[in-house]
Symmetry: C2
Subunit: 151 residues, 2 copies
């Protein structure tokens, strides 16, 4: 067992899971704050030089897990590790956000898809991404193709 | 406090931190396995359709944390949340790996930078990245520029 304590909390416009946009074609443009606890503020030095950050957080209002589930972007079931389902063996979330600025221990960001009050476990700089042309998206691409064919 | 249990372990060619390539220009091409516990194997269904995965893991051999540190890619100190230092308030690691194949509960991957036996907390599909031209890399870009000027 590993124990982790929050380094801070997300200040988000979303208070209920039903308010978080999801399903096909969803893009997250919501702005919010990463409010880091005073004792960890020093760890934020130079974070504002990066355009994007990884935020690792806890689905603290999600209960239990399901190894197989139907995601909102498909009508077929997939393994939980092939989806972003909140019902995971370890309810850990990962979001890439864009940095808008920092005032002390508050980092203003765009791309929030967490609920207000979500506990943050870690923040890391986004250093490089995999180019789109090198990505294969498995069931997600297949579901998109089926939708395009239908519409 | 949040408690997490490993869903599996990394099988890596690296047994000591000194063996893991680091510093300027490092690329990770090492191959290894993500060995998931039998009770979570079902959660891997369809994972092999994705070219890349996020692996969230624990720096289980790292002790304590430092809010400010000098990374191996620079000669100046930065806040821990602006670096990939193992000495983090919550010692959580994040690695993007390329999927080579899956045999049952073993996922063969390329891009391992973890030690052998590293506990895995979660695996997620890599759905999209930020294009390189949209990235600002703060201190990392400045350190690279200084190195280029010197060489």
């Amino acid at each position: 067992m590993f124990k982790f304590q929050p380094i801070g909390y997300v200040c988000s416009p979303y208070f209920e899971t039903t308010q978080v946009p999801r399903g096909p074609g969803t893009q997250h443009h919501a702005e919010g704050l990463l409010e880091i606890a005073p004792e960890f503020e020093e760890g934020l030095i130079d974070i504002e030089g990066f355009s994007h950050l990884f935020v690792i957080w806890v689905f603290d209002r999600s209960e239990g897990f399901a190894l197989i589930g139907v995601p909102p972007t498909d009508d077929r079931p997939h393994g939980v590790f092939a989806t972003r389902s909140p019902y995971r063996p370890n309810p850990i979330g990962l979001t890439v956000v864009e940095v808008l600025g920092r005032e002390g221990r508050k980092v203003r960001v765009r791309g929030i898809d967490m609920l207000n009050g979500t506990p943050i476990l870690d923040i890391k700089p986004y250093m490089s991404g995999i180019p789109t042309e090198k990505l294969r998206l498995g069931w997600f691409a297949e579901a998109e193709a089926r939708r395009t064919k239908l519409s």
